[in-house]
Symmetry: none
Subunit: 132 residues, 2 copies
């Protein structure tokens, strides 16, 4: 939880491409090519983004033949969440509508989350082996 650590985590999250990569990885490991596919961007650009995510500790690099598949490392996200939550709780006292606001945000997205979760489950079953 050093400041540097939080710096790197939040900075990594500040880019929409990187957030999309994390979202993709939430449903399982992926190679660089697979991660690059949805973006109108060169492969080296994606490799750079991945490097940023790795430096922040959000993502791990594996090896499988020539592939260097990435997966998620949840710990730094937990730290970032913890930081936000701490202040959120303080502000809850000052701003009573915050809780309601957050609930609202959560319910509007509940369906999306559930969909994603089902997706994850399906893929894991399909793969059969638990790489992680």
């Amino acid at each position: 939880m050093t400041p540097d650590h939080l710096d790197a985590t939040f900075a990594a999250l500040a880019d929409p491409t990187r957030r999309a990569i994390l979202a993709r990885l939430a449903s399982g490991e992926a190679s660089v090519m697979e991660l690059a596919e949805p973006f109108a961007m060169s492969q080296p650009a994606i490799s750079k983004h991945l490097k940023v995510l790795e430096r922040a500790g959000l993502v791990w690099r594996g090896r499988d033949a020539q592939r260097r598949p990435r997966w998620l490392e949840p710990q730094p996200l937990a730290e970032a969440t913890e930081w936000l939550e701490r202040y959120r709780r303080i502000w809850e006292r000052n701003f009573k509508r915050l809780d309601a606001l957050l609930d609202e945000l959560k319910t509007t997205q509940k369906r999306q989350v559930d969909t994603l979760l089902d997706e994850v489950k399906a893929k894991r079953k399909k793969r059969g082996r638990t790489r992680r």
Copy 2:
């Protein structure tokens, strides 16, 4: 919750000075001079940081004579929390220990946190697996 919005929020949070300013504002409004006081940095530098926080919507500018006191605006933080929470929930299913980790993070002090995290890392490494 447009991407731009999250970009600006996370980018604003990526700087330790700005996080410190937010922490300070969590205990009430403050003038620019008051906010600048703890930092070895010029007043214009602080004004710039405040501008970043305002563009992210995290902070509000009031007016009181010559003072331009700042207040917190909790909504963007709630959105950022929500984003993190969404992925945290997904990962909870994959990494069962995450919840415990987060609880521990919440209740331990800074130094103990670092120790704990090292411990977790060590355990993970020891478990081995194809990672790394």
